[in-house]
Every structure is written in structure tokens, then in C-alpha cells.
Amino acid sequence: MEILAQLVVSGIALGMIYALIAFGYQLTFATSGTLNFGQGEALMLGALVGLTLVGHMNYWLMLPLVLVFGALQGIFVERVGVLPALKTKSEFGWIMTTISLAIIFKNVAENVWGHDDITFPSPLPTAPLQFFGIRVLPMEILVVVGALAIMLAVEMFNRKSIYGKAVVATSNDRDAAGLMGINTGVVITFSYALSSMTAAFAGVLIAPLTLTGSTMGVVLGLKAFSVAIIGGLNSGMGVIVGGLILGVVETTTGYYISTGYKDVPGLLLLLLVLAIKPSGLFGKSVIKKV
């Protein structure tokens, strides 16, 4: 029982990381119907910029600066990669542009920060805390709390503020929102800024747990993508549940079946969801009228 609890706790921490990155996919998909396939690289850039800043200041002071950097990076991706594709009504152009931008970011990071994996100094004690025999790192708690907090903040902003309502309106119906006088272009740019900002935030949150380096985002970005598909690309609840499912399934399969197969159940689940409920566990199916 204690082992199961330990596995579940570790799985939750892992799952929240996936959920936070998946949340970023969702933000841009809602407003523009496009995804930033460089989400993992946005995370990596955030972590590396954070690492550089943390050499000069306190971890908590560094956080807002990294958020600003993430937002700017998102705007850059949208302006350079996505906007031209949206303008020309290209169905798939943005896929290639976001992927190529991701490769460019990775190469730039290799040139600036080198090729090696570096340790990120932990802002909290590294000794584990013990609850009823279950051991948790303080940093893991911070990841879960931080991820929930930023998702909640974005949701509150969307529901309560007038700007947030413009975002919701755009995601409901971009053309109608445009006719109502909402500058949907700005809203889309804004959603990219928010999306990369959450990714950068995820980067600095998890960096003390993992290692920091130019390749850290690749696997995480991919797993988060399957979380976004499993949970549904238009459901905030979906990514959290999807992330937790994937995280817990990974650790428990690793222990009870075989560590060689720990990625299999997640992928099976992905295939099942795509076959039975393509819009995701919590997604609303949208009928596309042509």
C-alpha cells in the first residue's frame, strides 16, 4: 500500500508537469485552431534563461522575468511562424513553421548554453519530506501547486476580465467575435504569449527536479502533446486529468509490470481515445461545416 501511494505521488508530480505543458497547447488551439509544436522548446528556453538569471538573483525574483521572456518568445513565434500561415489561410503551414522554429531555438540554445546538461540550483531544500512513510521532495509540491496556480490564474483571467472575455469569445467563434469588434488577431497573439509563458514557467518549475539542457524539452513536449489529445484540446479539466492519468500510469506500470513497458499504456490510451472519442476524454466534439 505504501509503495502504491509512493508511486501515485511521484506520478502526480510527473503528471502535473505534463498537464502544464499540455495547457499551453490548449491555449493557442482554443483561439486560433493552431498549435505550437515548439512547446517543449519554449519550456527549455524558459529553464535556460532562468538558469542564467538565477546566477544573478534570487529564484523568486527571477520568476516574473522568465514569464516576461516566455511571453515575448510566444509573440515572436506567432508573428514569424503562425500569422503568415493564418493570413494565407494555409491549413498546415503553421505545423512546419512551428516545428522549424523549435529546431532553430534548440540550436540557438546549444550555441548559447552549450551541449551539456546542467544542474539547476534548487530554491527549496533538496531533502525529501515524509508523510506517513511517503517521501516527497519539496520541489515536487511546488510543481503541483505552481502548475495549478498558473492554470487557475489564466482561467480566472478568461472568465472575469473583459480581455479574457474577448479570448473566450474568439475561441467560441472567431468570425463572430471579429464582427463584434474584437481584434481577433491581437487575441491570437496574446494567446501565444500566454501559452509560451506557461511553458517557460513550467521550465523553471521542473528544472531543479530534472536537468537543464538544450534537449530537455523534446520528450516532455511530445508526452504533453499526447496528454492534450487524451484530455481534449478544448478542456482545461481535461489536461489536468489527462496529465495525472499518464503520470500515474507511467510510474505504476513501471513498478507492477515492467519498466521496459512503462510508456506503452499511455500510448495505448492515446490510440483508444483517438479511436473512440477523438475530441478527447473531456473535449466537446465540434462539427466542422464546409
Binding site: I3, Q6, L7, S10, A13, L14, I17, E110, H115, D116, D117, I118, T119, T126, A127, P128, Q130, R135, L137, I206, L209, T210, L211, G213, T215, M216, V218, V219, L220, E250, T251, T252, T253, G254, Y255, S258, T259, G260, K262, D263
Partner: protein, 404 residues
């Protein structure tokens, strides 16, 4: 402005001097991972090879010609290694290639050298299969050589440390899912079986995995007294840190990669005491080693005065000298003649790891034997000799009959 002009002039002069040599230089390929988790091995290996080449060139080169290294990054990816080997063979027309830090890349790439009859000196990759891909009778001549301690040597020493020295009876194996990790795991299981021991847990993980809880819990629940590892630096650090998280601390004994800088730095205090087999430890206990360490530190100035992967640097350096000696003896850059010279090397080569006295024969392409390999351990962020008795000044030469 003035400085700019000076720089341009220097660059032009440099380019001109290069092109003078390029006309009749001897091209040697250097293929290794200069990026990613394996990069400490690749970069140290390359720097060691560069150091040897520049020393040889300063003494007038070989056959009156200068060595020109053609360095390519194989990114530790099998498919990239194949591209690099084809480029080196067909476009650059290298005389021979040294390198490969990753067993998988080596196995995928060297087929092309074998077909082109161009010798390859593996100076870091340790997979037992590396030199055994092209054996008679199917292939009359094998063009693949090695200057590193292969996995059957390493696994024997790991098991010896765990079972004979530390008297453990329950051990767990944790290996990554690459060719390196899985071939190493097989060798470890064989070496354990020879001592009538079955590992209590055999676990696997992927490169870039960030959570080792499941693997470590299984080893813990099975009552493992030590963890035997086959993986590379970053994931080894995740294992050490994962043990700290679970509040479970048993010794780590593993392949030589536990000496990589990215394990030692990322594991910090959790990595202290890890044991691994080494062909070279950064300690100046012989005059040759002192000269090598001094020259390396002076030329490349690595952080904290620590070579990122001392073993790779030493083996990279030695491989270049062995190759140069063979080319000199062959009196030609023809691949067949160089191979024959390697298999019957007359001159002794004084290297960093050992003095190579007839390192290869037609049927034995391993320069390192088990008697040359010592155990190292991590102490205060450095790799030191685990047994002071190994620290002598005696150079251990090849002993093909040394018992495992």
C-alpha cells in the same frame, strides 16, 4: 578597425598555411558525439586526438606529411553516424577514422569502413560486439580495432567489486534502453551467472527519463544491496538523486561512464562513492601521464581543472599515436597496408593508458586487457583510485592471458 584588419590578415595567413598542407596532408576522420548527453566523452576524445595530432605534426608529421583531422559530430545517433561515415569515406577520403563513443553508432557505421577497407579505431565505445562484427570466415580481414576496455572486461570488474570485494549477494541492474545499456546488461548478467548469482531486479529506463521512482522501488523491495548500472551521465545522476529522494542509499557500481563530469556534477553529494572501472584516472602517477595531463589542461583549460571524461581523452590521444605509428610502419596510406601494420606493430607506442607492445594481432583487435583496468571512485567531485595499491608507477602492458 586596426584590430579587425589584423584579424583578417591572421585568418588569411592561417587559411593559406592550411591550404599548403591540405594538398598532401593525411586526412584522419574523428567521429564522435560533440552534442547531447554523451558529449563529455566525445569532446574529451576529440581533444585528446587533437592534442596527439598537433604533437605529431609539430615533430614533422608522418611520412613527411601533416595530419589533418576531419571532425564530425555523430550526435550519438545511429543514423547520423552512418551519414558521417559515408561522408568521411566518399567525400573526404580519409585514411582511417578514430572515434565513436556510442556502441550503437559504432555498430551501425563501421560496415562502410569494412567494405571500403579503411581501418577504424574505436577509442571510447565499449560494447563487446564492436570488434566482432566482421570475423572470419565470412570476412577474411577485420578492419575494426579498439583502444578502450570492452564491456566483458568492465562487467567482470563490476561484478568482482560487488560480489568478491564487497561480498554482496543481492544486486539489482539498472540499464538504459540504448544498445549500450542493453548489451552491457547482457554482459553483466553473464558475469553474475558465472558467480552463480541472479540479479534480484533488472530494470530499464529511457534516455531523458526524469523519474526513476518505479525502477528504484523495485530494486529496493527486492532487497538489493547494491545497484549495478549501465547508462550515461545524466540518467545516472537521476538514479543517484532518486535514491536520495526515496531515502534509500546503497552503493552504485557501474560501467566507466560513472566517471563522466555530467554524472559527478549533477548527482553532487549523492554520487559520492560510486565505483567504476577505469583505464585512466586523472592523476600524474607516471611521467607520461603527467605530461599528458599538463598539456591537456594547458591547451583546453577545462573548468575546475578536471577533464570532462579523462578515460575518453586518454584513449583518444593513444588511438591517434597507435594509428600514426602504423601509418609510418606501413609507409603508405593504403587501408590494407595500414591494417596489416596495426596487426603487427613493431615499434612500442608509449601511450597514456599503457605502453602498447604489439597491441593487435590478426585475430585480436582489443588493445586493452583486464590487467590494465583499475577501479576508480568518486570522491569530492573527482574520480580517484579506489585502491591505493593501483596507484603505482608501473605501466601494465598487454597480457592477453590475464584472467577475468
Amino acid at each position: 578597425m586596426n584590430i579587425k584588419i589584423k584579424l583578417i590578415v591572421t585568418a588569411l595567413a592561417f587559411a593559406a598555411s592550411c591550404s599548403v598542407y591540405a594538398a598532401d596532408s593525411i586526412k584522419i576522420g574523428v567521429s564522435g558525439p560533440y552534442t547531447g548527453g554523451s558529449s563529455p566523452m566525445g569532446i574529451s576524445m576529440r581533444d585528446g586526438a587533437r592534442l596527439a595530432a598537433s604533437e605529431i605534426n609539430a615533430k614533422g608529421g608522418i611520412l613527411g606529411r601533416q595530419i589533418e583531422l576531419v571532425e564530425r559530430d555523430d550526435e550519438a545517433k545511429n543514423e547520423r553516424g552512418v551519414q558521417v561515415s559515408q561522408e568521411l569515406i566518399n567525400k573526404e577520403r580519409v585514411v582511417a577514422t578514430v572515434g565513436y563513443a556510442n556502441t550503437g553508432v559504432s555498430l551501425a557505421s563501421q560496415r562502410f569502413y569494412q567494405e571500403a577497407k579503411i581501418p577504424v579505431l574505436n577509442n571510447v565505445a565499449t560494447g563487446t560486439a564492436v570488434t566482432k562484427q566482421f570475423l572470419p570466415p565470412e570476412f577474411p580481414d577485420n578492419y575494426i580495432f579498439r583502444t578502450s576496455a570492452n564491456d566483458s572486461i568492465q562487467s567482470a570488474l563490476i561484478v568482482k567489486q560487488a560480489i568478491e570485494v564487497n561480498k554482496y549477494t543481492k544486486v539489482a541492474i539498472l540499464a538504459d534502453s540504448t544498445n549500450y545499456g542493453q548489451l552491457g546488461r547482457e554482459d553483466l548478467e553473464k558475469a553474475l551467472a558465472a558467480k552463480n548469482i541472479k540479479p534480484v531486479a533488472v530494470e530499464k529506463f529511457n534516455v531523458k527519463d526524469v523519474d526513476m521512482t518505479a525502477q528504484l522501488l523495485k530494486a529496493k523491495e527486492a532487497g538489493a544491496q547494491a545497484i549495478l548500472t549501465y547508462a550515461i551521465g545524466p540518467e545516472l545522476a537521476q538514479i543517484a538523486n532518486g535514491m536520495e529522494k526515496l531515502g534509500w542509499k546503497v552503493p552504485m557500481i557501474g560501467s566507466w561512464t560513472l566517471s563522466m563530469g555530467n554524472f559527478i556534477d549533477n548527482a553532487g553529494k549523492n554520487g559520492e562513492g560510486a565505483h567504476m572501472p577505469q583505464t585512466f584516472i586523472q592523476e600524474p602517477n607516471t611521467p607520461k601521464r603527467k605530461a599528458f595531463i599538463d598539456a591537456y589542461l594547458k591547451t583546453y583549460n577545462p573548468p575546475k581543472g578536471r577533464i570532462a571524461s579523462p578515460v575518453s581523452a586518454a584513449q583518444g590521444y593513444d588511438s591517434m599515436y597507435i594509428l600514426a605509428t602504423a601509418i609510418k610502419q606501413a609507409g603508405s596510406t593504403d587501408g590494407v597496408k595500414v591494417r596489416q601494420a596495426l596487426e603487427n606493430l613493431q615499434e612500442k607506442v608509449e601511450g597514456v593508458v599503457t605502453t602498447y607492445n604489439h597491441p593487435y594481432t590478426h585475430d585480436d583487435h582489443e588493445a586493452i586487457t583486464i590487467n590494465m583496468v583499475v577501479m576508480g571512485k568518486v570522491q569530492d567531485g573527482h574520480v580517484v583510485y579506489a585502491n591505493q595499491s593501483d596507484k603505482g608507477e608501473v605501466v601494465r602492458e598487454k597480457d592477453a592471458k590475464a584472467k577475468k
